[in-house]
C-alpha cells in the first residue's frame, strides 16, 4: 500500500508540474466568477442561475475530464518513453502497484480540484440573489423553482397484458399479423411491443367530452403547506386553430366523491388553456394529497377542443413534489462528475499502458466524445434505417453499451429543472460506471502492463 501511495503522491506532483494542469486550474479560477456575474440566461434571476450552474458545471467537467485524460496518459507514457520507469520498476515495487499508484494519484488530484471548483460554483450560486440585488418576488421564485429538489412520479400504469394478448390473438385469427412475425420470437416481441404502445396510447387519449383519471400512489410531500407541480404535455389528433387545448381539471383525493362522509382533504378544480406539444407546469397545494399518499388528477377534454387529446407515453404527465434540498442535490451532482472522472482516469491508464501518448490521447478523446453523444449516435443509427447495419449491430452497439452514457444523465439535467437525483440513482450509476466499466479497464491495464515488454534484455 505504501508503494501505491508513493507512486500516487509522485503522480500528483508530476501532474501539478504540467503546464496544462496549471492552465486549466487558472482558467477555471478566473472563468467561474466571471461567468457568475456575466451570464444573463433569459434575463430573470432564475434564468441567470440556471445558465451559470449549467455552464459552470459543464465547463468544470470538461476541463477536469481533459486534465484527467492528459495527465494520466502523459505520466504513464512519458515514464516509459523517458525510461523513468526503469528506475521505479527496479525498486521493490510491482508493476500493478505502479499502475494503481498512477490511477489513485490522478483520482486524488481530481477529488481535490473538483471539491475546490464545486465549492466555488455553489458559493457563487447561493450568493447570486444577494449580488444581483434580487427583489422578493424573484427570490421566492428561485426558492420554489430552483433551490429545491423535486421528486417525480408518473401515473400508475394499468396492466394491459391480458388486453395485449387478446388483441394479438384477434389479429392473428383475422390474419392481420404480417407473415413471418408469429414464427419469429424476436419479430413477434417487436410486433407486440408496438401493439402495447398503441394500447397504452389509447388509454392516455381522451375523446371530446371524455375524462381521464390519473392516479398516483406514495406521494409524500415534505410539507403539506407547500405545493405540488403538475408537468404535462399534450398531443392531439387534429391541430386546433390556435394550437391550444382547453381543459378542466379536478385535483386531489377523488375517491372522496363516492363517499357520503365529509371530505378529509380538499379537492381543487381549475380550468386551463395550454399550447400543444410544449411542456407546461402548474402548481397545486400539497394538502390535496390523501393521508395514505393517494393523489389523483381528473382531466376533462372539453367540447371546445373538438379533437382527441393525447398525453404522450414518455413524458405526457408527471407529478413533481419537493423531496430534498438543492445542496444535497448539488452534492450528488458533484459526486456524479467524480464518478465520470474515475472512469476517464481508468480509461487513460488503460490506453497509456500499451499505446504511445498521442494515440492514447486520441483514443481517450474519441471515447469521451462518444460517451457524450451516445444518445445521439444511438438515435442516428435508429433513424437511418429500420434494419441496422452489421457495423452497428456487431461493433457500435456493444461499444456504446460498454461506454458510459454521459449525456443521458448529466448534472444539469436535474439541477436546472430542480429535479431530484436520488442517492439510489447515484449509487446505481456509480456501480455501473465504476464497477462494470472502470474496474475492468483498470484490470486490463494491469494485465497489459504486467506482461508488457518494457525493455529488451540484450546480452
Amino acid at each position: 500500500m505504501r508503494s501505491i501511495w508513493a507512486v500516487a503522491v509522485n503522480t500528483v506532483k508530476q501532474a501539478l508540474r504540467l503546464k496544462i494542469a496549471a492552465v486549466f486550474i487558472v482558467l477555471l479560477l478566473v472563468l467561474l466568477p466571471v461567468m457568475g456575474l456575466k451570464m444573463t440566461g433569459d434575463g430573470t434571476l432564475k434564468g441567470r442561475m440556471q445558465a451559470f450552474v449549467s455552464y459552470g458545471l459543464s465547463l468544470t467537467t470538461l476541463l477536469l475530464a481533459l486534465l484527467t485524460i492528459f495527465t494520466t496518459a502523459y505520466t504513464l507514457t512519458s515514464d516509459v518513453k523517458d525510461k523513468q520507469v526503469y528506475t521505479v520498476l527496479t525498486k521493490p515495487i510491482r508493476r500493478f502497484q505502479f499502475i494503481l499508484g498512477k490511477l489513485f494519484g490522478v483520482i486524488l488530484l481530481d477529488a481535490v480540484l473538483l471539491t475546490l471548483f464545486a465549492v466555488i460554483i455553489y458559493s457563487i450560486t447561493i450568493s447570486l440573489p444577494t449580488l444581483l440585488h434580487a427583489d422578493d418576488e424573484q427570490i421566492a421564485q428561485v426558492r420554489n423553482e430552483f433551490f429545491t429538489a423535486r421528486a417525480s412520479l408518473t401515473p400508475v400504469e394499468p396492466d394491459i397484458s391480458a388486453e395485449l394478448e387478446q388483441a394479438y390473438n384477434k389479429l392473428k385469427q383475422n390474419g392481420e399479423v404480417p407473415a413471418g412475425v408469429d414464427e419469429n420470437p424476436i419479430a413477434r416481441q417487436n410486433y407486440k411491443n408496438e401493439l402495447a404502445r398503441r394500447i397504452g396510447l389509447r388509454k392516455r387519449a381522451a375523446m371530446v367530452g371524455e375524462e381521464l383519471l390519473w392516479e398516483f400512489n406514495n406521494v409524500k410531500p415534505k410539507d403539506p403547506n407547500q405545493e405540488l407541480f403538475i408537468r404535462l404535455k399534450y398531443d392531439v389528433a387534429v391541430n386546433p386553430q390556435d394550437l391550444s387545448i382547453y381543459s378542466k381539471w379536478v385535483i386531489g383525493d377523488v375517491r372522496q366523491l363516492h363517499l357520503v362522509t365529509p371530505m378529509e382533504t380538499p379537492l381543487y378544480s381549475l380550468e386551463r388553456k395550454d399550447v400543444i406539444r410544449t411542456f407546461h407546469e402548474f402548481a397545486v397545494p400539497a394538502d390535496a394529497v390523501a393521508r395514505d399518499g393517494y393523489f389523483a388528477l381528473a382531466f376533462l377534454n372539453v367540447p371546445l377542443n373538438d379533437t382527441v387529446v393525447i398525453f404522450p407515453l414518455e413524458d405526457g404527465l408527471e407529478l413533481l413534489y419537493k423531496a430534498d434540498t438543492f445542496t444535497a442535490n448539488f452534492a450528488r451532482a458533484v459526486l456524479l462528475i467524480f464518478v465520470r472522472l474515475i472512469f476517464l482516469a481508468a480509461l487513460a491508464v488503460f490506453a497509456g499502458s500499451f499505446l504511445s501518448f498521442p494515440v492514447a490521447i486520441l483514443l481517450c478523446l474519441s471515447v469521451f466524445t462518444m460517451a457524450n453523444m451516445s444518445g445521439y449516435i444511438g438515435e442516428s443509427y435508429h433513424v437511418v434505417g429500420a434494419k441496422p447495419s452489421g457495423v452497428y449491430s456487431y461493433f457500435m452497439k456493444p461499444l456504446i453499451m460498454f461506454l458510459p452514457e454521459f449525456d443521458r444523465v448529466s448534472p444539469s439535467k436535474f439541477l436546472i429543472p430542480a429535479r431530484l437525483f436520488s442517492w439510489s440513482s447515484l449509487g446505481w450509476l456509480s456501480f455501473t460506471t465504476v464497477c462494470l466499466k472502470a474496474v475492468p479497464l483498470a484490470i486490463m491495464s494491469l494485465l497489459i502492463f504486467t506482461y508488457r515488454e518494457i525493455a529488451k534484455v540484450i546480452v
Binding site: 451570464m39 444573463t40 440566461g41 433569459d42 434575463g43 430573470t44 432564475k46 434564468g47 440556471q50 445558465a51 449549467s54 408537468r231 404535455k233 390556435d242 394550437l243 391550444s244 381549475l270 388553456k273 395550454d274 399550447v275 410544449t278 411542456f279 407546461h280 402548474f282 402548481a283 445521439y376 439535467k413 436546472i416 429543472p417
Partner: protein, 603 residues
C-alpha cells in the same frame, strides 16, 4: 524496417489517396448544393462588431461544428421545455452564422412564437419578454448585418402585425398595451408638425452638443447629477428624468424647471425623442414622416390631407419595416420584369403593408383605460395575484384609413400586374372582399354616402351579379336577407345583440355617430327578420327595446370593460337620454313583476 511494416505503410498511403480522391470527387456536388441551399455568402461581412468578426474568422473550419453543437443544444433544451438558455444560444448561433438570414428569422420566430407561448398566459409580462427578444434580435442585429435580406424585414413586420397586432395569442392585449405605452412618451403631440420637427432634428449627439443654445442645458444637467456624465446614456437618462424625476438628484429636475418653456428645452426634447426613436426603436423619423404622408389616415374634409399614423399601433410598425425592406432590398426595376420574377418574400412583404393597412381600418383606433377596480381580475387564480393589470386597451375601427389602404393596394396590384397582361388575382380577391366589408362597415356607421361611393367603385372594378342593383341600401338589405334566409332565431339574436352591445360601447367612448349607426343597423336587421318570420310565434324575437335593455345589461355586467367606462355609460344615459333611462327602469320593473308572478304560480 521489416517488409510487413513497409506493406502496412504502403497500404495506408494507398487507402489515404483513394479516400482523398473519393472525397475530392464529391466536392463539386457539395459546393453546388451549398450554393443551391444558400448556405454560403460571397459578400463580405460588413458592419460587424470586432467580436463577431473574430468569431466568424478565428474558428475557421470548426465554426460549422460549433454551430451544430449549439443547434443540438438549443433543440434539446426546447424539447425538454427549458428556455433559460434560448436567448443566449440564439445569439451565439446567429453570431456564428451572421449571413444566413434564415437562421435569424428562425431564432426570432422561435422566441416570439414558440417560447413565449410556453409561458402561461397568466404571466403576460414574461411572455412579452420573449416576444421582445424575438423582434429585437431581428431589428437590432439580424437586419443591420443582412440589410439586403428582404425576408428579415418581412419576418419582423410579421411579428408586429401577427404576433402583437393579431389576436392569436391570449396575451395579445398585453403586448399591444406595452408597445403603446412604450411608444407614447416619444410621440409628443403626435401631429404633423411634431413629426416634421422629429425628422429635422439632428441625428448625432455631436451636432446637438455643438449647438450653442443647447450646450448650457447639457452642461447644467451634467453638473446637477452624475448620471448625466456619460454622453452615451445622457438621452436615456433625460427621458427617464422627465417621466420619473424621483430616480434622480432633485437638482437635475430643477434644471428642467429652469429651462421649462424655453426654446432650448423644446429643441432638446425633440432631439431626445428622435434620438430614442433612431437608436432604440431603429425608426428613422424621416421615413416615419414619409409614411405618415403616404399612409396616414385621411381627413374626411380634405382627402389630400393625411393625419399622422398612430405609432403606438403594432400594424404601423409592421408597415414601417415592410416598406423599409421593400426600399432597401426589394426589386426596383418593376417595368422590365414580369410578375413571376418577384421573389415570394417580396410579394409577402407587400402583403404585410396591405394587410396592416386593412387592420388599421378595422382596429386602428386605440383607447387605453386605467383600471382602478379589482372586479376585472379573475377570482381565485394564483396568476391573478401575480399580475395585476392597471390599464386596459381597446381597438376600434378607424374609417379614415380606408383611402390610404385603397391607394396602397391599388399600387400593389399594379406592381404585380405590370410587365404582362395577367391580373394579380390573389391581391384582387382580397381587395374585393375588403371593399365589400368596408362598405358594410361605413353603412353601419352611418356614412351612407361613402358606402355608396365604395359600392359604385366595387361595381365598376369587380362587376359581379350581386352588385347588379345600383343602390347600396339594396345591396346591404339583400345581403342581410341572404344571411337571414337560413338564419335561426338563435343566430338572429347572436347577430343583433353584439351589435347593440357595440353601440353601447361606442356610446361609452363618446363615438356617438357610430353608436347611433350601429344601433340603426341592428334595428334594420331586426325589422327584416321580423318581417320574414314575424308570423311564426316560435320564431319571434323579443321586443327591440327589451333586446336593447338586455344588451345594455350585458355590457354593464361585462367585467372585460373597465368599471369607469361602464359607469360613464350609465351616467351618460341618465343625463343625456333620460327617456331611455326611464324606459330601462320601466322594463326592469316589468321584468321584476313578471318574475314575481311566475314564482307565485297560476292563481
Amino acid at each position: 524496417m521489416r517488409l510487413r511494416d513497409k506493406l502496412i505503410i504502403v497500404l495506408c498511403i494507398v487507402l489515404a489517396v483513394a479516400l482523398i480522391t473519393a472525397a475530392g470527387m464529391r466536392l463539386d456536388f457539395i459546393n453546388s448544393q451549398r450554393v443551391e441551399m444558400k448556405l454560403i455568402s460571397n459578400e463580405p461581412l460588413q458592419n460587424a462588431p470586432p467580436s463577431l468578426a473574430f468569431a466568424t474568422v478565428a474558428m475557421g473550419a470548426f465554426r460549422g461544428l460549433v454551430v451544430d453543437i449549439l443547434w443540438i443544444r438549443a433543440d434539446k433544451l426546447k424539447e425538454e421545455g427549458q428556455y433559460f438558455d434560448a436567448r443566449q444560444l440564439a445569439e451565439w448561433i446567429t453570431v456564428l452564422q451572421p449571413r444566413f438570414a434564415q437562421v435569424w428569422a428562425f431564432q426570432a420566430w422561435n422566441m416570439a412564437y414558440n417560447i413565449s407561448v410556453a409561458i402561461p398566459a397568466e404571466q403576460p409580462d414574461q411572455r412579452w419578454q420573449w416576444v421582445k427578444n424575438g423582434y429585437e434580435l431581428l431589428r437590432d442585429k439580424g437586419i443591420p448585418l443582412n440589410p439586403k435580406s428582404i425576408g428579415l424585414y418581412r419576418e419582423l413586420g410579421r411579428i408586429f402585425q401577427h404576433k402583437i397586432g393579431g389576436n392569436s395569442d391570449d396575451a395579445n392585449k398585453y403586448y399591444k398595451l406595452q408597445l403603446a405605452l412604450a411608444m407614447e412618451p416619444l410621440l409628443g403631440k403626435a401631429d404633423n408638425a411634431w413629426f416634421e420637427s422629429l425628422a429635422k432634428s439632428p441625428a448625432d449627439w455631436s451636432q446637438i452638443v455643438a449647438d450653442t443654445n443647447i450646450a448650457p442645458f447639457i452642461a447644467a444637467l451634467k453638473a446637477a447629477d452624475k448620471n448625466f456624465e456619460d454622453d452615451s446614456r445622457f438621452v436615456g437618462n433625460y427621458l427617464s428624468l422627465r417621466q420619473n424625476p424621483s430616480r434622480f438628484d432633485p437638482a437635475a429636475f430643477k434644471v428642467i424647471d429652469r429651462f421649462r418653456g424655453t426654446k432650448t428645452l423644446e429643441k432638446f426634447d425633440v432631439f431626445a425623442k428622435a434620438w430614442q426613436l433612431r437608436n432604440v426603436w431603429k425608426l428613422d423619423p424621416v421615413l416615419m414622416l414619409e409614411l405618415n404622408r403616404t399612409y396616414g389616415p385621411t381627413d374626411f374634409n380634405d382627402p389630400n390631407n393625411h393625419f399622422p399614423l398612430d405609432w403606438r399601433h403594432p400594424d404601423v410598425h409592421a408597415i414601417y419595416w415592410a416598406v423599409q425592406g421593400l426600399r432597401v432590398a426589394g426589386k426596383k426595376d418593376v417595368v422590365k420584369m414580369g410578375r413571376g420574377e418577384f421573389p415570394v418574400d417580396e410579394i409577402n412583404t407587400d402583403r404585410i403593408v396591405a394587410h396592416s393597412l386593412q387592420n388599421l381600418f378595422r382596429y386602428g383606433k386605440i383607447f387605453i383605460y386605467d383600471i382602478n377596480d379589482n372586479a376585472s381580475l379573475s377570482q381565485g387564480s394564483q396568476a391573478a395575484a401575480a399580475y395585476r393589470p392597471t390599464k386596459d386597451i381597446f381597438l376600434r375601427p378607424d374609417f379614415r384609413m380606408f383611402d390610404p389602404y385603397n391607394k396602397a393596394i391599388t399600387e400593389i396590384i399594379r406592381k404585380y400586374s405590370a410587365g404582362d397582361d395577367k391580373s394579380d388575382d390573389s391581391h384582387m380577391v382580397g381587395h374585393r372582399n375588403m371593399l365589400t366589408n368596408a362598405l358594410t362597415m361605413f353603412y353601419q356607421a352611418g356614412h351612407r354616402a361613402k358606402a355608396q361611393k365604395i359600392y359604385d367603385y366595387v361595381r365598376q372594378l369587380y362587376p359581379r351579379p350581386e352588385f347588379s342593383d345600383p343602390a347600396v341600401e339594396s345591396y346591404i338589405i339583400q345581403q342581410i336577407r341572404k344571411d337571414l334566409k337560413t338564419i335561426t332565431i338563435t343566430k338572429a339574436m347572436d347577430t343583433i345583440m353584439p351589435m347593440l352591445r357595440e353601440a353601447y360601447f361606442r356610446y361609452a367612448l363618446r363615438d356617438d355617430d357610430a353608436s347611433y349607426a350601429i344601433e340603426k343597423m341592428a334595428e334594420d336587421i331586426y325589422n327584416v327578420y321580423t318581417k320574414e318570420y314575424g308570423d311564426e310565434a316560435r320564431l319571434q324575437l323579443p321586443e327591440f327595446k327589451i333586446m336593447k335593455y338586455n344588451a345594455f345589461m350585458d355590457f354593464f355586467a361585462d367585467e372585460g370593460y373597465p368599471l369607469v367606462m361602464r359607469q360613464n355609460l350609465l351616467n351618460r344615459i341618465k343625463i343625456e337620454q333620460p327617456k331611455l333611462a326611464e324606459q330601462f327602469s320601466q322594463i326592469e320593473q316589468q321584468l321584476i313583476e313578471e318574475l314575481q308572478r311566475q314564482q307565485q304560480g297560476p292563481q
